[in-house]
């Protein structure tokens, strides 16, 4: 009986861990996501600058801004889990930043050939990547 139970318990423990058993954001994860959001915002700003100056193509701007927006969404979701008391304020700030980056890129996705929209998006993303 004992020989059967132990492997089952181990399997359940592994399954729980794999299903996201750890639901709080650690300091390390927060730093990692902060870097990711910064990277997406900085890259989005480069793309928006090119659209603004007519140096990109609409399919490229559309697909790439969509990809970057999805990545920012994923970061926002990862940051949605609670963190410890000392980190929670920073976590909320980073989550809001990730959502703002995703929204800005979604605007570029909807208007991949509009220099005016691109100019607004670029300024927003430059601020968010700072």
């Amino acid at each position: 009986m004992r020989r059967v139970t132990l492997p089952i318990l181990l399997l359940v423990a592994v399954a729980v861990a794999a299903c996201g058993g750890s639901s709080t954001v650690s300091a390390e994860q927060l730093e990692k996501q902060r870097e990711t959001v910064h990277s997406i915002a900085a890259e989005g700003a480069l793309l928006a600058a090119d659209v603004e100056r007519g140096r990109s193509t609409p399919p490229f701007a559309k697909i790439h801004s969509g990809d970057l927006s999805d990545l920012a969404d994923r970061a926002a979701k990862a940051l949605a889990n609670p963190a410890g008391p000392s980190l929670d304020a920073e976590r909320r700030r980073e989550e809001a930043r990730a959502v703002a980056v995703s929204d800005a890129l979604a605007q570029l996705l909807a208007h991949p050939d509009d220099p005016g929209v691109a100019s607004t998006v670029r300024r927003k993303l430059e601020r968010l990547s700072g």
Binding site: P59, F60, L68
Partner: protein
């Protein structure tokens, strides 16, 4: 002009083999994360693939047998079978990654849905392989893929700090992020030496009916072709080191690679870069489809070769078709092609000794190679690079786990 066409096999092997989706992803990511610090690793990768391609091309020319054929005959069924299975598993992951890469490049060019483009990519590859002779596949994909040289222009235009670039070619270990640095070093060497390159290269020598008179051509193809591939890899890393590294941008998609040409060169640079990526990755997909079919056919002693009509080599023809379909089925499940690429490179590193050890043994077999067996210089390089390959094949999986697949 004839000479230029003669080195087409090397160009295709370089553009479609060396500079494939794995190489593009790892070089741009390495440049974005470490600037120019990993340039020296590219040189090691180029040296390894030049050494072993020359060796297996020589074996093919002298014995009229490609790598898998020679391994099966000289080293026996069991060693051959292990080499075949390992090679085929890596080929499968590689072709899935390349087909995904073609669809991604097409999507960035045309903006159409990814899955539609996946279907078009596989159909297009199938038609091209069926309809074009081997020489024309080499020429079309090799020479159009040369538009990737636009990344060298982009790197120049970004005006990097050339002193830092030069010091990147000096081997060194960084003071921090050592594990991540080592992971990228392993990935860069792995991307440069993926097994399908040598399977394809040696079989290509038979397809082109090289004879011992072409041993010089073999050497020229290996040196010029792969050095060109290494030059493109360095250009990608320098571009990423100059543009993305200072801004803290970590590439997560193929679009970032296109952006690397668009920022310094505008629309023309972007379109040329994407066409170059499309043909380089397309060439790699064809190389890996052929490699899969070559390996099985050579191992079991079936008729093989693109120079034969499909009815004269039916199992070989079914083989490359099956590789295309299997690659498509993997990537159509929705897995991220970039992740498939990273896994294919790391797993290919683990399997590298199973390809490279037999080549070295056969190339040293005087009963088989006669006066064309490895000389002292070939063995010094061959054994030296084999030592590197053995070390990275042991380190690959632990580094993958420690660095969370390069995520830090």
């Amino acid at each position: 002009m004839k000479k230029i066409f003669e080195i087409a096999l090397g160009i295709l092997a370089a553009i479609g083999g060396f500079v494939d989706i794995g190489d593009i992803v790892f070089n741009v990511a390495a440049g974005a994360m470490f600037g120019f610090e990993l340039l020296w690793v590219v040189v090691i990768g180029v040296g390894a693939i030049v050494t072993y391609s020359e060796m297996c091309g020589r074996v093919a020319v002298v014995s009229q047998r490609a790598v898998m054929d020679a391994v099966r005959e000289r080293l026996g069924y069991r060693v051959g079978l292990v080499s075949l299975v390992a090679g085929q598993l890596v080929n499968l992951l590689t072709i899935a990654a390349e087909i995904g890469g073609i669809a991604l490049a097409l999507q960035l060019l045309a903006g159409l849905p990814f899955r539609v483009l996946l279907v078009l990519a596989v159909l297009g590859l199938g038609i091209v392989i069926w309809a074009l002779p081997f020489e024309w596949i080499e020429r079309v994909f090799g020479y159009v893929g040369l538009t990737m040289l636009v990344f060298a222009v982009a790197a120049l235009k970004l005006n990097p700090d050339w002193n830092s670039v030069a010091s990147g070619f000096v081997p060194h270990v960084p003071s921090q992020d050592v594990a991540l640095y080592a992971f990228f070093a392993v990935g860069l060497i792995g991307a440069a030496t993926v097994p399908y390159e040598v399977y394809f290269y040696s079989s290509g020598a038979i397809e082109e009916r090289w004879t011992p008179k072409d041993l010089g051509l073999n050497k020229a193809n290996a040196i010029i072709g792969y050095s060109l591939g290494g030059f493109l890899s360095c250009a990608l890393m320098i571009m990423a080191g100059a543009l993305f590294y200072p801004r803290g941008i970590t590439p997560e998609s193929l679009g970032t690679v296109g952006l690397g040409a668009e920022v310094p060169l505008g629309q023309v640079g972007l379109v040329l870069a994407l066409i170059g990526v499309l043909f380089a990755v397309g060439g790699a997909a064809i190389d890996s489809a052929f490699s899969g079919a070559y390996n099985v056919a050579q191992f079991f002693g079936w008729e093989w070769g693109k120079y034969r009509r499909p009815v004269d080599a039916p199992r070989f023809t079914v083989g490359w078709m099956a590789m295309l379909v299997a690659g498509f089925l993997i990537v159509v499940t929705g897995v991220d092609p970039i992740q498939v690429t990273e896994y294919s490179v790391i797993f290919s590193v683990v399997a590298l000794p199973l390809t490279y050890v037999p080549i070295l043994l056969v190339a040293n077999d005087r009963a088989y190679m006669g006066r064309h067996a490895n000389g002292r210089i070939a063995n010094v390089f061959g054994i030296g690079y084999l030592a590197v390959i053995l070390v990275i094949s042991v380190a690959a999986i632990p580094l993958m786990i420690i660095t969370n697949m390069g995520q830090g």
